[in-house]
């Protein structure tokens, strides 16, 4: 199939392009990694080799806690955002209803609202609701990671919709129809037919939402309360330069961990391929 899409020359050119893109993306990260072993601050010339920053990082429970919080928030908010994104995309593409353009405008508006303004106004509203709850029922919800999740779902939702819609739009409706004719209810036809075909979009949307949330600072800084997420923690640390190399050590470890995931995915794929052989290969 690949031969149809590209000539050998174009293929080589694309491979070179992609490799240089990967280089472009990783050069800054490698620079950070180099300085995380540097016995000095973040400027040339390098001072000497040390593992001290890593030692400090691993003995700092606050960093580990904040990383854990960010991972939890990112995981939950991206799952919700992808779920809502799928249903919204279905409604927009497969249904006819009044006010569709207004709904799509609403879905995409969070793309543009400044996160700081959004964070502040969510904070004002949550506080007001808490105040009301406190006055009327005597208990209240308070700020925390759940509030961050709520905000992150809102800002990730348009990205998930934008990622899912183009593919859903092209998926043929025939298959869903056929499943229906064979007696599947809408949920079965979605789960057995549409969902597998939609997988590339769902995986991509999840990755986008996860990274977005994991690295989001402005909203989290207003809503996290006393449970700072990793970007919030990081930002507070940057007041004093002596903290920096330790944070670089964190970033290197995060990178190695995520590359580990990449590697594991590749190994898993190869194993599965070896075991099932051609069965896994998509039909041409």
């Amino acid at each position: 199939m690949t031969e149809i899409a590209t000539s050998p020359g174009a293929r080589r050119a694309l491979t070179i392009f992609f490799s240089s893109l990967v280089l472009f993306l990783y050069v800054p990260i490698v620079v950070l990694a180099v300085f995380s072993f540097n016995d000095g601050d973040v400027s040339f010339p390098l001072a000497g080799f040390t593992l001290d920053w890593y030692r400090r990082f691993f003995s700092n429970p606050k960093i580990l806690q904040s990383l854990e919080r960010s991972a939890i928030v990112a995981a939950i908010s991206s799952v919700i955002a992808v779920g809502l994104g799928v249903t919204a995309s279905f409604a927009l593409l497969r249904r006819r209803f009044f006010g569709k353009s207004a709904v799509s405008a609403l879905l995409f508006s969070p793309l543009v609202v400044p996160y700081l303004v959004f964070g502040i106004s969510l904070l004002v509203i949550f506080t007001a609701v808490d105040k009301f709850l406190a006055a009327s029922t005597g208990s209240y919800i308070g700020l925390g990671l759940h509030a961050v999740v709520i905000g992150h779902v809102v800002v990730s939702l348009p990205y998930t919709v934008l990622t899912i819609m183009p593919l859903l739009e092209r998926l043929s409706v025939d298959l869903e129809e056929a499943a229906k004719d064979l007696g599947a209810d809408p949920w079965q036809s979605f789960r057995r037919v549409t969902l597998p075909l939609l997988m590339p979009a769902i995986v991509s949307a999840f990755m986008i939402a996860f990274t977005l949330s994991f690295d989001e600072y402005a909203i989290a800084s207003f809503l996290a309360g006393e449970t700072p997420t990793w970007p919030v923690y990081l930002f507070a640390q940057l007041r004093v330069p002596s903290q920096l190399p330790q944070l670089l050590a964190v970033s290197s470890v995060v990178l190695v961990a995520s590359l580990g995931v990449v590697l594991a995915a590749e190994i898993g794929r190869r194993l599965a391929e070896r075991r099932y052989g051609d069965d896994l290969r998509p039909a041409p």
Partner: protein, 407 residues
């Protein structure tokens, strides 16, 4: 799942106490419904309105009568909530030392461990409090004290409960006084002045003008705050740069616009400035004392100017929230911060001054001590230094400053 990550503090220590603590000002149910009907909006929106109206009216009655009925410390809930910068007790930078020097005495006196909520700068701290966040104690800087007091969320300290208070420099206490009462206890202080690299910059003429000097085109760093307007005001000889008229603001704006081309960047975090200064990307910049300390430690040939217009001095200090349930705990905490040990810690580790006059400046390296003038008892007096002051026309300043930046 979401339930599980709601922080534990909502369910510990009895709901009623916590609720009291954060929302002393009642939101009447009737008000709420009235607003809801009136606005004809969704329920939550009305809640917002109610809360906002509510925030307008200062919560009075915090002094006098309340004080008489303050319960003994044993009856307070403890778990003092401190709203602060990172590295001032929460252990981010020097886990052992921060605890030992800044609140060791507090822990000894009360047996309590404070809880810290962090802010990144004065702007975001104030914004969070405006939006409804409440703690026991906060640590903003002096020029913003007036805003906090105006908001009606603070109460004055009973300085008789702070045994170290008499050791604090009385001249510097004035910044925290409103209506004759000590709403903030100023503790840490520092300067704003030009830091220059003497390998490239002529240090014979000490002036803020070095930040606007054509000779150092492309090698100058400004700060990204409204204080740049003030510094320009001093350089132009304006009488009171903290409260300029429209004409003066226009003059300052035009001056800054004409000099903007000389600037390499505006800094937001002092470490940004320090890295650029160290690497030689800039030779002169608006600087705090911490960068002086780093430059000294790195053995650079630097000068922290004593500009002829006078340095700007800043103080930060502790304020007490009006609805605190930890009144006596908070005073113990402030006492701990006001101690000689805390003062020397701030000097030695952050190169910040402290209002405790008993602190020994020799804990600071000689070079930094000279640069900051720690041995000079008049270094904080006019005309050598002007205190950083509340800017009453902040939003107007902001308009002019954005015109400078947009130019």
């Amino acid at each position: 799942m979401i339930r599980a990550i709601i922080p534990a503090r909502t369910t510990t220590r009895g709901e009623a106490v916590m609720v009291e603590k954060r929302f002393t000002r009642e939101v009447g149910r009737r008000d709420f419904l009235r607003y809801a009907g009136y606005a004809g909006m969704s329920v939550s929106m009305a809640g917002v309105l109610a809360a906002c109206r509510d925030a307008d009216t200062p919560s009075g009655g915090s002094s006098g009568s309340v004080k008489a009925s303050i319960p003994p410390i044993e009856q307070e809930p403890g778990g003092l909530q401190v709203f602060d910068w990172s590295g001032y007790g929460n252990g981010d930078y020097y886990p052992k030392e921060e605890k030992k020097f800044l609140w060791g005495q507090y822990a000894k006196a009360t047996g309590d461990t404070p809880e810290f909520a962090l802010f990144e700068n004065d702007d975001s701290a104030y914004t969070k409090v405006v939006a409804g966040a409440r703690y026991d104690v906060a640590h903003p800087c002096g020029y913003r004290y007036g805003d906090w007091v105006d908001l009606g969320v603070m109460q004055p300290w009973d300085t008789s409960l702070i045994s170290n208070f008499p050791s604090l420099n009385p001249k510097l206490m004035a910044a925290g006084q409103f209506d004759g009462q000590q709403y903030f206890v100023p503790m840490d202080w520092g300067f704003i002045a030009p830091l220059v690299n003497l390998d490239h910059v002529d240090g014979s003429d000490e002036t803020f003008g070095v930040l606007f000097d054509e000779r150092y085109k492309g090698k100058i760093a400004w700060i990204d705050t409204l204080n740049m307007m003030v510094v320009a005001g001093y350089t132009l000889g304006i009488e009171n740069p903290w409260d300029m008229s429209d004409e003066e603001l226009a003059e300052v704006r035009d001056f800054l616009v004409s000099k903007k081309g000389l600037v390499r960047f505006y800094w937001n975090q002092s470490y940004d400035f320090w890295l650029a200064f160290k690497k030689g990307e800039v030779w002169a910049g608006y600087s705090w004392p911490d960068t002086v300390g780093y430059a000294d430690a790195a053995g650079m040939n630097y000068l922290y100017m004593q500009p002829k217009e006078g340095r700007i001095s800043w103080v930060c200090g502790l304020g007490l929230f009006a609805d605190t349930e930890n009144y006596r705990h908070a005073h113990e905490y402030a006492n701990s911060w006001a101690s000689k040990e805390a003062a020397e810690f701030l000097l030695a580790y952050y190169y910040y001054g402290h209002t405790n006059t008993e602190a020994d400046p020799s804990v600071v390296p000689d070079g930094v001590r000279t640069a900051l003038g720690l041995d000079d008892p008049t270094v904080l007096d006019e005309p050598k230094a002007h205190p950083e002051t509340h800017i009453p026309r902040r939003s107007i300043y902001q308009q002019y400053w954005s015109e400078v930046q947009a130019a």
